[in-house]
Amino acid sequence: MKKIFGGPVLCLDRSDINTDEIIPAKYLTEVTKEALKPYILEDLSLDGFDAKGAPLKNAQVIVTRGNFGCGSSREHAPWVFEVNNIHTIIAESYARIFRQNMFNCGMLAIELPKAQIDTLVDMAKGGALVVSVDLPAQRISATADGREESFSFELSPFDKALVEAGGWVEFADARY
C-alpha cells in the first residue's frame, strides 16, 4: 500500500497512550491487518474522544504527547493506523518498539519538541488542522483557520532509508 504522509489532523492531547488503548489485546486474534480496522483507539481514555466519531474517521495524521505507543510490542498498533489511512504520527516522544514498528512499516513517526506540539494542539482548537509533510526537506507545514506554522524535524538516515524503501523487510532483503 502506497503511504500518504500528511493530511487532516486529530490531536490526542495526553501522554503515555499505550498499545492496549490503540488496539485492545482481545483483537490480537486477527491474522490480517484489515480486520483490525474498526477497533482503532477503542479503549482510549481521553475526555471528549469518540472512537467512532468523524474527527478520527477523517484523520490522516495523529498529533500527540510523550511516550506514545508504550506497552506491548504488538505491531497491530501501527497496523491499525495504517489500515485507517493514518500514516503519519507527530509526538513529543515514542516508546522504542512502537517507533521502530512505524518505520519498519514504512510509516512516519515524527518527533517535535513540546513547544511545537503545544502550538499544533492550540491550532487544532481554533479550527480544522491540516499538516503537510515535505519528506526530503524534513519539514512539516500546519494550517488551521488561516494560521500557518512550519517546523523542521529530524530523521536518522536509517529511518529515512526505511521510509524510502517501504519498510524493513524490503531494506533487509535487498541487503542481507
Partner: protein, 425 residues
Amino acid sequence: MGQTTAEKIFAAHLRDEPFPGTKVIDIDRVLCHEITTPVAIADLEARGKDRVFDNTKIKAVIDHVTPAKDSKTALQAKMLRDWAHRHDIKDFFDVGRNGVCHAIFPEKGYIRPGFTVIMGDSHTCTHGAFGAFAAGIGTTDLEVGMLKGVCAFREPKTIRINLNGKLPAGVYAKDAILFVIGQIGVNGATDRVIEFHGSVVEAMSMESRMTLCNMAIEAGGTSGICQPDAVTVDYLWPFISGEFASKKAALTEYGKWCADADAAYEKVLDFDMSQIGPQVTYGYKPDCVKPVAEMVGTPVDQVYIGSCTNGRLEDLRIAAKILKGKKIVDSVRGIVSPATPQVFQDALKEGIIDIFMQAGFCVTNPTCGACLGMSNGVLSDGEVCASTTNRNFAGRMGKGGMVHLMSPATAAATALAGSIALAKP
C-alpha cells in the same frame, strides 16, 4: 574505556552498520509465539520467501491463548504449528508441552550469557537475567529475524541501576522492580538498556532476576540485564555441563560478558533497598506505585497468580507458604496459573497445588490468558484484580477492569483477606 554488557554483546554480534548509529546484529535466538508470528508467516508466504535462517536458533511456543478458545485462536495456533513443522523447528511447544514463553525458554536452557535474543513480545527483556541482550520487537523485525537472523537497533545506551543493601524479609524481586519503576517512571529508561547491579541482585535466584528484568519494559527499557555469575552457571549447569570442564570454567567464560569496571553509563542510579516494604500499583500505569501498607483494605474481586513475571516455582512456593491450611474468602475468585508444565509438575510433587486447591484457588494450565484479558480470568466492567502480572493499563485484564500489580506474597495475603493485605512474616 571499558564497555557495558550490551556494548560487548553488540560488538561481538555486529553484522553491519548501514548508517552511523544503526547497528544490525546477528541474532542467537529468535523466539516465536502464536499472536505476533502468524502475520509474519503470512507475509513471508505472500512474498514467496517462506524460509527460515536457521531452524535450530528459532524456538516457538503456543502460549497466549491455549488450548485455543475459539476458531480465531485455533487458526493462529495452526498457522504457527504448520510453519514450525514445515521448517522442522525442533524446539516447538504445543498443547501439553507448552508454557508461557518467557518462562519455558529459559527453563529449557536456551538462553545463555552473551546471547542476542528477539521475540515479538515486549517482555522479552526477561531473558537479560542471563546476561543476554534480549529485546521485544514487532512483527516486521520478527519476520526479518526469522528470514535473515538479524535485527537493527540504535547504539545501546545503558543506565546502571545499583540495588544496594538487602531486601527485608517478605520483600521480593517484584517489590524491588515496582519500586524502581515508581522512582524512574514509565519512560525512565526508554530506548535504554538497564544493567542491574548491587548486593540485592547478587543475592537473587535466577527466577527473581527474571522477575526483575521482565518489567524493564514497563520503564521503557529495551532490555534489562543482570551480570552472569555463579548463580547463572548453577542454573544453566544441566544444559552446559558437556561444554565446560567445570563450573569454574563456565564462570570464567561467561564472566567476559560482565561490564567492565570503567564502563561508561549514561546514568548511574543507586537505591537503598533495605528500607522498602512490599509494593503495589494503584492507577493505570506501572509507575503508579505505593507501599502496600498505604493500600491495605482495598477490596478485590479476583486474585491472579501467574504470568511471565511471577508464575515460576519460586513464586508459587512463596504464595503457598502463606495459603497453607487457610481458605480464601468467598468474595474472591483465586486463580493460579503455573507458567510451564515443569512448574506445574514440580508444584504438584511438592504439594503446592494441593495447598492452592484446599485454599479455594482454581488451577489453570500454563498460559498467558488472563494477564492480557484473553482468557482464563477476564474481568468484568468495574471489577478489581490483585495480580502478579506486569501491566495495569486500563482494561488490560478486561474492559472496565482495574488491576493492582503486586508480589505473589501480597497476592496470597490479599486472597485470604478479600482486600489488599500485607503478608504476615
